[in-house]
């Protein structure tokens, strides 16, 4: 009986230690640019180094690190650039198939309803702004052929009565064009 209790205690201790140790990861391999950051000081990661999951890690573009969680017998290869706590880097995972499927069908449903939700929940002001944005984009250039309702880039033109929309929009364009011509700095892509 005594042996049994001792064995159980021993197993418990081992498990407890494992749980603690599970927070550490052993570096199997790392590119030279990968480093840990502590109090703003960057230290390059070396092979066989032990990194705690609370440590901040910086992986630049094209850098990589292979970590081993010996307790759970799992290895992690991180090759996406990041600057975050190891815990967060490892837990960042892709959406599951179920989540993606839900998103997909939600999107299809929304489209089938003709973006009904968006139309119902938006305010009159938002709808007018969106309409003006669309009209605005028609007068710009051939490469800017439309706007999304979510677009936050375009500056909305102040609400005007329907009959004045086109005229005012054209005037805005002419004014902007004049500004561009006055200034020689051109921007092209």
């Amino acid at each position: 009986m005594k042996r049994l209790i001792l064995t159980l205690l021993f197993i418990f201790c081992i498990s407890f230690c494992n749980m603690i140790l599970a927070q550490d990861y052993h570096v199997c391999e790392a590119s030279s640019e990968v480093c840990t950051i502590a109090k703003g000081v960057k230290t390059p990661v070396t092979k066989k180094q032990v990194i705690n999951e609370k440590e901040r890690l910086e992986i630049p573009a094209y850098g990589y690190i292979i970590l081993l969680d010996s307790i759970n017998r799992k290895s992690y290869k991180i090759d996406t650039p990041c600057r975050d706590m190891l815990k967060n880097i490892i837990s960042t995972d892709k959406a599951t198939v179920e989540e993606l499927t839900l998103k997909y069908f939600r999107y299809i449903w929304k489209k089938m309803c003709g973006n009904y939700d968006m139309a119902v929940t938006s305010t009159v002001g938002q709808r007018v702004t969106a309409a003006f944005r669309d009209i605005d984009s028609l007068f710009v250039d051939s490469t800017a052929r439309g706007t999304a309702l979510t677009d936050t880039v375009c500056r909305p033109i102040a609400c005007k009565r329907d009959s004045t929309v086109q005229q005012d929009t054209v005037q805005v364009k002419i004014h902007r064009k004049a500004e561009c011509e006055k200034d020689e700095c051109k921007k092209d892509e």
Binding site: K94, L100, A144, T150, V153, C154, C185
Partner: protein, 395 residues
């Protein structure tokens, strides 16, 4: 029985080949006949990747903010000495890389401003934009370029040409390398990403890439509050350009976006290594053929199954084209779902235009094949064994 089944499978394959032939012929006609060009343009403009981005962006809540790139908006700044002042202030905040997405084409009457900007451009170590022009298809090389007036060999530059067909085009891809008078030149995107990561993009990986418009946005700082936002500039890529300038707006899968943001998404794609791979044309052709074959298979067996039922509901369904089209629509939605999952999970994009278009034409191909078989069956009884043969007496 086994022989009959394998013959049926081959016949479905023939239907798939007819569908593919139809799509190739129709595609060829659309692209070569002038008055069908709107159809060709519509097909060219269609990309399921737009839908993937829209799905991602439909989520409520704010997008993730980039920790690598910050944008400085100088839309309202007109004078060159003021632009120089903004660059100078950005430099004081110790950014990792500065990219200026503006071409200062000609020297203007403000000599002082020109001189100041020239000095700052040389001292800042920033990467400036230029544009390649006069493309010669024979040599696959540009012959001319439009640079800033102060451009010299000591100033880093990258071209900012967008990938398009000179007409209204949705920006979905960016380039890494183009030839100028036979010499390879790196794009602005590539130059900035390389400077930030301190690694060159390997020579073998300079193909055009998809811009990953994932659920991420970039902090935008106004020109007059640069110093107040040091923390958003330090050790980051800082792109200076215009956010509200209509002349620099582009049509993207997310709607109208400024060129500076398109550059930011392209750079983020490179530094995050979130490159989206895609299928080559031959694989796509094979995939289309396979899916057409599957479509022909299930459609025929569905028709046979429904026709064999005696129940009045099934009789109604058997004669309802709308129901059959509804099932085909569901099949298309299933294919789109599969490609969406592949795209999200594996970052692999399958251009589905050809696949979906050929699936739609399978019904047409099946009728053509059935007509051929029925015609041949009049002179040769062996064709009467075909699964597509319709016995006039029984039907």
């Amino acid at each position: 029985m086994k022989k009959t089944n394998s013959t049926a499978l081959i016949e479905h394959g023939l239907v798939a080949v007819i569908a593919m032939t139809l799509i190739v012929v129709l595609g060829w006609l659309s692209f070569n006949i002038k008055f069908l060009s709107p159809v060709a343009r519509a097909i060219q403009e269609f990309s399921l990747s737009d839908m993937y981005y829209n799905i991602e962006w439909q989520e409520n809540g704010a997008p993730e903010m980039s920790r690598d790139i910050t944008l400085i908006d100088i839309t309202e700044v007109r004078k060159r000495d003021e632009i120089a002042n903004v660059i100078e202030k950005v430099k004081q905040c110790s950014p990792a890389v500065i990219g200026v997405d503006i071409i200062f084409e000609d020297q203007n009457y403000d000599i002082h401003g020109d001189m100041v900007l020239m000095d700052v451009a040389e001292a800042s170590g920033a990467i400036f934009a230029y544009k390649l022009t006069d493309y010669a298809p024979m040599t696959d090389s540009f012959q001319e370029r439009v640079r800033s007036y102060f451009a010299t060999d000591s100033i880093k530059e990258g071209y900012v040409n967008a990938i398009g067909d000179m007409t209204a085009t949705c920006l979905r891809r960016f380039s890494i390398e183009r030839n100028f008078r036979g010499q390879p030149q790196r794009s602005f995107t590539a130059q900035v990403a390389e400077a930030y990561s301190k690694n060159d993009i390997p020579l073998g990986k300079t193909d055009d890439r998809f811009i990953n418009y994932r659920f991420i946005d970039f902090p935008v700082i106004k020109y007059d509050s640069v110093l107040a936002n040091r923390n958003l500039i330090k050790d980051r890529i800082v792109l200076i350009g215009t956010i509200g300038e209509e002349a620099d707006m582009h049509f993207t899968p997310l709607g109208k976006r400024p060129g500076l943001k398109v550059q930011a998404y392209s750079i983020q794609t490179v530094i995050d290594q979130k490159n989206i791979e895609t299928t080559d044309d031959n694989t796509l052709m094979l995939l289309s053929l396979l899916i057409c074959w599957l479509t022909a298979l299930w459609q025929l067996y569905w028709i046979k199954f429904v026709n064999s039922r005696k129940n009045s509901l099934w009789v109604f369904l058997a004669n309802s084209n709308i129901f059959f089209n509804g099932i085909t629509f569901a099949w298309l939605a299933l294919l789109a779902w599969l490609t969406y999952i592949i795209y999200e999970r594996m970052e692999y994009y399958i251009p589905m235009v050809m696949v979906l278009a050929s699936v739609v034409l399978v019904a047409e191909a099946r009728d053509i094949y059935a007509a051929i078989i029925n015609g041949l069956a009049n002179s040769n009884d062996t064709f009467k064994k075909s699964v597509y043969y319709k016995d006039k007496k029984t039907s």
